[in-house]
Symmetry: C2
Subunit: 223 residues, 2 copies
């Protein structure tokens, strides 16, 4: 018997819970595939319906619009990553080692998690790198925030912030440093791939270099 890993999602994100039906799981799976392949701008519910072999109307029964669907998969990613971090840093007492582990998990390639059958975490990671900020860079960010759509992201930053304080209890900017680590883990990756002049690892395109940069940045601050 296979253990399916389960994440409790904010019910405000969907109209009908996509986990509860084959069609719903298909919507998530194929959305990730299509957004990964062609980006979020060119993604439409019509194309998604065709990919699945269903109708546009059926997709709209699950998600109000494509932005909500983006919020859903991004929130899913942060929740999943939170669990990964919890699992991987369990029993580690040294907060510096914990923080290093977190930086590595944030900045390096993600492998597909076999225990989640309809989510390809590797592709989802790439999506969060190039489309993740669009989940909150909108003029309805305030309302979305009230509806707690960014809770998984904020929780993750909160966790990282607390590890930062464990490293240096009088550090003045734990939350800002946490959000900097998270965003830069992704932006440096995007820049390395697409605008390499903005980084110092454009030639190798090796994400472990991003880890070294972030470690240098963070641990000189937490000395």
């Amino acid at each position: 018997m296979k253990l399916e890993f389960h994440i409790q999602m904010n019910a405000g994100l969907y109209l009908r819970n996509p986990e509860h039906s084959e069609l719903g799981r298909n919507i998530i799976e194929k959305s990730i595939k299509l957004i990964f392949e062609n980006g979020f701008e060119s993604f439409t519910f019509k194309k998604l319906a065709e990919e699945i072999g269903t109708t546009e109307a059926s997709v709209y029964r699950y998600f109000e619009n494509k932005h909500r669907l983006l919020l859903y998969i991004v929130a899913w990613y942060w929740s999943w990553l939170g669990h990964q971090i919890n699992y991987e840093t369990k029993n580690i007492n040294d907060p510096k080692i914990k923080l290093k582990k977190i930086i590595k998990l944030l900045a390096t390639k993600v492998e597909d998690d076999e225990s989640t059958s309809y989510v390809n975490e590797s592709q989802l990671h790439e999506i969060v790198i190039s489309e993740g900020t669009k989940s909150y860079l909108t003029n309805h960010v305030g309302e979305d925030n009230k509806l707690k759509f960014f809770k998984p992201y904020k929780d993750l930053c909160g966790l990282i912030g607390s590890v930062i304080l464990e490293c240096k209890s009088n550090y003045k900017y734990p939350n800002s440093l946490a959000s900097t680590i998270v965003e830069m883990a992704h932006f440096q990756n995007f820049f390395m791939q697409n605008l390499p002049a903005l980084t110092d690892f454009g030639n190798e395109k090796d994400d472990t270099k991003i880890v070294l940069f972030l470690e240098d940045l963070v641990f000189t601050s937490l000395k």
Copy 2:
């Protein structure tokens, strides 16, 4: 006689040079106004034409599409800021003081520059904070980069990178640190305003606190 400040723009960004006509300058001016007020997603050429009192077709004679127009105003902003930085750091020899000045210019509120009649820099700064990354977070970033649309941004990061090396000649990540400073100057501002839990200045909403955070981050790295 008033001296008009002039920036040489990449001609690939437009179909017809907006600087060369009243209508063109109006397109820039009102685009900034509308994007500032309602965000880039809700901005359309139709609304812009109505605001100006012209037709959609006329706007399309200047810009291929609204993304090109975004690229234009964002590139304009980075060029303008590059000039500001040059002007404000002229005659400063100490690279640390220079870098502090740069951080301040990046992270704090921008005042409208009187020498540019049809560009409201204060609003443009806000636009670059919340919409700037969308200029390159597309699936055609590679082509846009080949067309040199991001040159002003890359030049600015290059300049900051060189000041970083002046501060510490053996620092390994001048470009990554430069792009981190630039992006975080804006993201911390956006977070402070919209998702304050991700920062340590959500209560005060004071952008000089962002400067202190970035200075701390940067100068511990460059010790």
